[in-house]
Symmetry: C2
Subunit: 793 residues, 2 copies
């Protein structure tokens, strides 16, 4: 076998280096130039952009990886994508995409000639143009490069169930310091060499972040080697700065790694034994801003933090700097790289793969192209039988689990379920009948006892919401489907990932060449109202406020009140594309309010009057009682029962909301109700008591522009809670049946006077309930067994 | 030296094991018992709690660590605290705190006798009582144990600048899978053996999470060893299940580690050379639910996931289970451990340290006790001179940096500054004149060139917001002060940490024995309105919505409009206690609106009319223009200038808000304005155009109950942005001067008719601005140079 110094012939070496020079030239060009793109005339101030933006530092290193991957894609006909962790170095991805011709295919005005190149340069980091990091506009990218930390989990998500795919994942040494990245290395314990593809992580020891050395570049070689051995990888080191030598080393090492990946996969696939191997990874230590200016004004630039962004500034005003830029650009010899028209010369062009093998054009990086809709079982077949409304209890998520089990069965290798050690705790364990939990780490005999561990499981569990969300995103971005369940209070751990994915989806709406991808379906469970036993720290229903800040075009929030509604909502979400669907539903046993037929009708409308709870038929109601969420709905129904008994003349209209955005105006959200429809539901002037699952301000935000808004009184979580019983927790936040009745009495004219004795009775109930809870540790009458005794549908 | 089998004499071994039995007995007791605490009569169903809650699994292992630490505290007079990463195992911390007597000191009714023990048992996970994880109510704890992942960063934060302190940090193997924990191991690159104390991390390989094996317990011994060598530690392994042997191993190993820590510290302190050593850490592999029931109903419990929470359930109804509980409890022989009164026998009591040396009573774990107020320079001395209002530009954070520099100087080893690789980028680099950045990883000669690296820096930079926030929390919870600056768009990374710390502070208000601690001071900078160049993904001002969901008692939000106001606000925040202060201020050059004297007056009020921008003196205004935030304030002032020119008769009142909670009602927030004061500022019926930094709904939320609310029209970030110029970004979100003027024209009666030509002119300005931006890449008239030409103060 070749060694590290002669794997490339002189000719091949020359060509590869020339191709790399072209990458670097383009990377630098897009940062600086708005004219004279090929330097065919002397560089003048007028050719330089008015505002210099972009990140040069990691570009040459990233392009170095890309061109060497190209060689192997061609040699072995590999199916590979590129994930750029140091995503601010978008020029590398952009340059390669342009050189491969795919950029011009999707953006024809950025043609492969001088005119196109100029447009390609000018748009970069330019108003109305594209960003300086890998955004959704970047062909070949599934990884938003603005926020750091998720490249590796995205890469693993991309290769799950794509046995032929290799994700070349460049991990920046800055990014490597983030928590999400630091734990994502353990993804190798969840990768099956038979059914999954492979990730080739390349830690790019670029040396510096914005202003500091990176930690991993400043520990000993031995520590670094131990760290990756400890993470379960076989690290290979490529270190240096002399291009020719580095090309030889890199060619040798990457080939070694690809060969090793193929050997591992073949061995596992031939033997049908999926064991965890030592997957290869590469540590590439190369100078920051490699091939860029060595120094400027006597200060070190290359291989230093000064090379991070724009290495030479003040170019239009300083002739010396302008000259330095020209000298630097000319060092790439563009005249040797591009032909008369401005296109890459044919001799170099043939170094890149063609068609779908180009990493810029690989359909996995535009996953909607590969997406096959889920084969869906009839969700109605999993319905809970309802003899009487609001009489029987069942765990909604348990019922959902029976449905998801069959979704798994029908869609093996196209659908995965994600959850942080909580799938069973969240009562979705029926899924295990269809498939176990992926586990490639060591096993023990006792795992047979209910462990449900499997080398090819469809359930992904790791105690890292970051990694799970990253895997899930990578999985859907490459054309598959999934479902994530997580504890409500700690879903804030991935607030920032939610923001970024929602922004990705929102910006994709403007990009015609991106095919629709499956929605992210996020079930939030273990809800605040059943965190009475875990207490204050486990009570936070505020994720919805983060969600509601994002574009209405891409976010959906559903609060199915019971198991049948949850089935209907989940079915809808699993079939949808390009959304971030948030479903809020608790795991404990809860009342089933509606039979399946009614549930479908109700969920299809998203909001509606429940006639069987209302008694305003044929007359104007005195009060509207509205609700959203399972427990708040139960308490609202229970409040109506009390009011019916104690104040039988009171005319009540009862409204339940499943699709939260129905509350919004149709001008502001595609699901919004027209004003006239809202008015006919909520009246123009009657008091509305709204019992809400989350913080009350969200309902005000959504209903802000409605005519009757000033009469809407919202109850929700008030950040009150310690160790309580279920009823006590509701009481201290005012969302319980008794306080709701008091709200009605306080707001319906005359009731304050005529129902004063009822109010006294209600207060007494509250007092006694709390006293009992503190004495016995449980509810007096366990509210988790309460039933509706009123009329039926 | 002793070896692993004989470090403890038989007598000492017996005592230590007996003390440990007492811990385990108490841990189990608090999960199960509401009567018969010492098992002095036969166990009956009526002694068992009605609802069984709590986590048994990690308790014995954690107590095992605690009792062995006790031995060394006594032997070497160590100053140590205990941080419980697997925080749901609070029974271990609680049991030890009770045995040491400190629990009874702070909660006298939980006395060291049978009556007190019963109360101690019953309150656990009981309505009105305490939680099942380490909450603020737990003496000896600074670490909320509900959400996992922050134990190690808290531990490091605690020992920074406390050279004698040792933080015994138990890291759960579940928690170890989280991202924040996985990167926190690198904290050792920031620990100085001379000025800082030491962390002794103990990875507790308990084997299982709720339902799954933990990853680190299922990789090879060699991989585990490599991993911690790679992280830069020297791992020591204590593995087994036989108590006597394990006691010997643990006593030997912990002593080895403590000796090693002392050697490292002595060497560094004697030589005055701070280098990064291989700090010791321990891997403790012990059975989950150790010493608990081996099996129940024929199913494996000890050393399995079934031991995670309540190992034997259904106790009141199953006599067999009741019997199993009794057998298990009696295995600890409580009659040998507690005397007639129910107190721990004297022979065992003497095993624990006394006074402040008890880990439950160590004042570092109640940091307010040690807290010394900062020595503050006069912030007025750093004021920007203002000849004319709104005429000169300066970076507010740069000015703040000059002030913080002297705060650092005056408070060396009592104050630290935190930032993710961004202190310089955030323009706070003046601080480096006082102190560099802590860095104990390797250095290179080139670091002398502006690197500002120091082994004893006051500035903490790592590309992990999680680790920084964890350090900061640990630092203030142990009695010190700090300041954290971070990018606005990515502060969502620590949403969940914010939530937990805010909840910690809120619950501490009810705990008399906890002394006040310094506030967390979080500067959010690199704000949305100057992320025109980074684009959409870098634009998210929504952290404030997360903040506003938390208890008004503990959160504060300040939006100083300029440098002088920022100084005043920062001074106020640095002196405060028990808050989470959020300061929103951009790093770019911005207008200075107020001289120092006016700034102080304005910030003291928190909200106020700016007379020099208003022209309604002596008359009712036609419109109120209000604003909060630096750029929105500039645009609002610029809008007034346009309106004054174009519609000179229009009477405008101009209001600026610094303290966001002034907008709230005084009944809802301690900073809230009384209704009468709000009405006199905002009028009862005039249109209010409010230009807001963040999403507009927050202003509606805060002003919801105000009389003039329906006339308040808020402009804010609308989730619109790509690559823009500063002005274009404002325009597409409607917060720019031109759109504000249009808002005024649209809302002031008659102006729609009389000022139609002005509106046309404004629309033309907008169109031309955007066209210019897309052509030239910069603003037409760079708004970053705009000046107020109106009257002066």
């Amino acid at each position: 076998m070749s060694d590290q110094t002669n794997v490339l012939s002189t000719e091949e070496l020359g060509k590869i280096n020339a191709y790399w020079r072209a990458c670097n030239y383009l990377s630098a060009g897009m940062i600086y130039l708005k004219g004279n793109p090929l330097l065919r005339e002397k560089l003048k101030a007028e050719h330089i952009k008015n505002r210099l933006l972009g990140h040069w530092g990691s570009d040459p290193g990233q392009s170095f990886i890309w061109v060497h991957m190209n060689r192997l894609i061609k040699k072995y006909d590999l199916n590979a994508i590129f994930i750029s962790g140091p995503g601010h170095g978008a020029p590398a991805t952009l340059a390669n995409s342009y050189l491969e011709g795919y950029y011009s295919e999707v953006y024809p005005d950025k043609s492969c000639d001088e005119v196109g190149m100029l447009k390609f340069f000018k748009q970069f980091s330019f108003p109305g143009g594209i960003g300086s990091h890998c955004t959704s506009e970047t062909p070949g990218s599934i990884h938003e490069g603005g926020e750091l930390g998720y490249s590796l989990s995205h890469a693993y998500g991309a290769v799950f169930d794509s046995p032929d795919l290799i994700a070349t994942c460049v991990v920046g040494d800055g990014e490597a310091e983030t928590g999400p990245l630091a734990t994502a290395w353990h993804s190798n314990k969840f990768l099956n060499p038979i059914v999954d593809g492979a990730v080739l992580p390349i830690l790019h020891l670029n040396g510096y972040k914005i202003a500091n050395p990176s930690i991993l570049s400043r520990i000993s070689h031995q520590e670094l080697e131990y760290l990756f051995l400890g993470y379960g990888y076989q690290p290979y080191f490529v270190e240096g700065h002399e291009p020719e030598l580095m090309h030889q080393k890199m060619a040798h090492t990457m080939e070694q790694c690809i060969t090793e990946i193929k050997r591992i996969q073949k061995e596992a696939r031939d033997s049908k034994k999926a064991v965890r191997p030592k997957w290869p990874m590469i540590v590439l230590r190369s100078p920051k801003g490699w091939t860029g200016p060595k120094q400027i004004d006597g200060k070190k630039v290359e291989d230093f933090w000064r090379a991070h962004q724009v290495p030479i500034s003040n170019v239009t005003k300083s002739p010396k700097h302008l000259e330095a830029v020209e000298e630097w650009f000319k060092s790439y010899k563009p005249e040797e790289l591009f032909d008369e028209s401005g296109a890459l010369i044919a001799e170099l062009k043939e170094l890149a793969p063609t068609g779908d093998r180009r990493m810029s054009a690989n359909p996995h990086a535009n996953g909607g192209k590969l997406r096959k809709p889920l084969l869906m079982p009839r969700f109605q077949d999993y319905a809970v039988k309802v003899e009487k409304n609001a009489h029987e209890y069942i765990s909604p998520t348990h019922v959902l689990g029976t449905f998801l089990k069959d979704v798994v069965k029908k869609n093996l290798h196209n659908f995965r379920v994600f959850g942080p050690d909580e799938t069973a705790s969240n009562k979705l364990d029926a899924i295990y009948e269809a498939s176990g939990k992926t586990w490639l780490a060591d096993k023990l005999p006792e795992d047979e006892d209910g462990g449900n561990l499997s080398c090819d499981g469809r359930v992904m569990e790791m105690l890292s919401e970051h990694t799970l969300q990253g895997w899930f995103e990578g999985y859907v971005l490459t054309g598959r489907h999934g479902f994530f369940s997580t504890y409500e209070s700690f879903v804030h751990v991935i607030d920032s990932m939610f923001n970024q994915h929602a922004k990705w989806l929102a910006s994709c709406r403007e990009i015609k060449w991106r095919a629709p991808i499956s929605s992210i379906n996020l079930l939030i469970t273990s809800l605040v109202w059943r965190q009475d036993h875990n207490g204050f720290t486990h009570q936070d229903p505020g994720f919805l406020d983060v969600v509601a800040n994002k574009s209405p075009d891409v976010v959906r929030v559903y609060m199915p009140p019971d198991a049948n509604c949850l089935l209907s909502v989940a079915d809808h979400c699993l079939k949808s594309v390009n959304y971030f669907n948030v479903i809020v539903s608790d795991k404990q046993d809860h009342l089933t309010f509606l039979d399946m037929e009614s549930a479908i009708a109700h969920c299809t409308k998203g909001i509606g009057i429940w006639d069987w709870v209302s008694n305003d038929q044929g007359v104007e109601p005195d009060v509207v009682i509205a609700c959203a969420g399972d427990v708040p709905t139960m308490e609202a129904v229970a409040a109506v029962q009390i009011l019916n008994q104690k104040i039988p003349d009171l005319k009540i209209r009862f409204i339940n909301v499943v699709d939260l955005y129905r509350l919004m105006n149709d001008r502001e959200h595609p699901h919004g109700l027209r004003d006239s429809d809202f008015d006919s539901l909520f009246t123009m002037d009657k008091p509305v008591i709204f019992n809400f699952h989350s913080y009350s301000s969200l309902i005000h935000k959504l209903t802000y522009s409605r005519k009757n808004h000033s009469n809407i009184h919202v109850r929700g979580y008030k950040e009150k809670g310690s160790i309580n019983t279920p009823l006590e927790l509701l009481i201290i936040n005012g969302v319980d049946r008794f306080n709701l009745c008091i709200d009605v009495i306080d707001r319906v004219p005359h009731l304050q006077r005529t129902a004063a004795h009822v109010k006294e009775w209600l207060k007494q109930q509250i007092l006694e309930s709390v006293t009992y809870a503190h004495t016995e540790g449980i509810d007096r009458d366990d509210i988790r067994g309460w039933k509706w005794e009123g009329k039926q549908q």
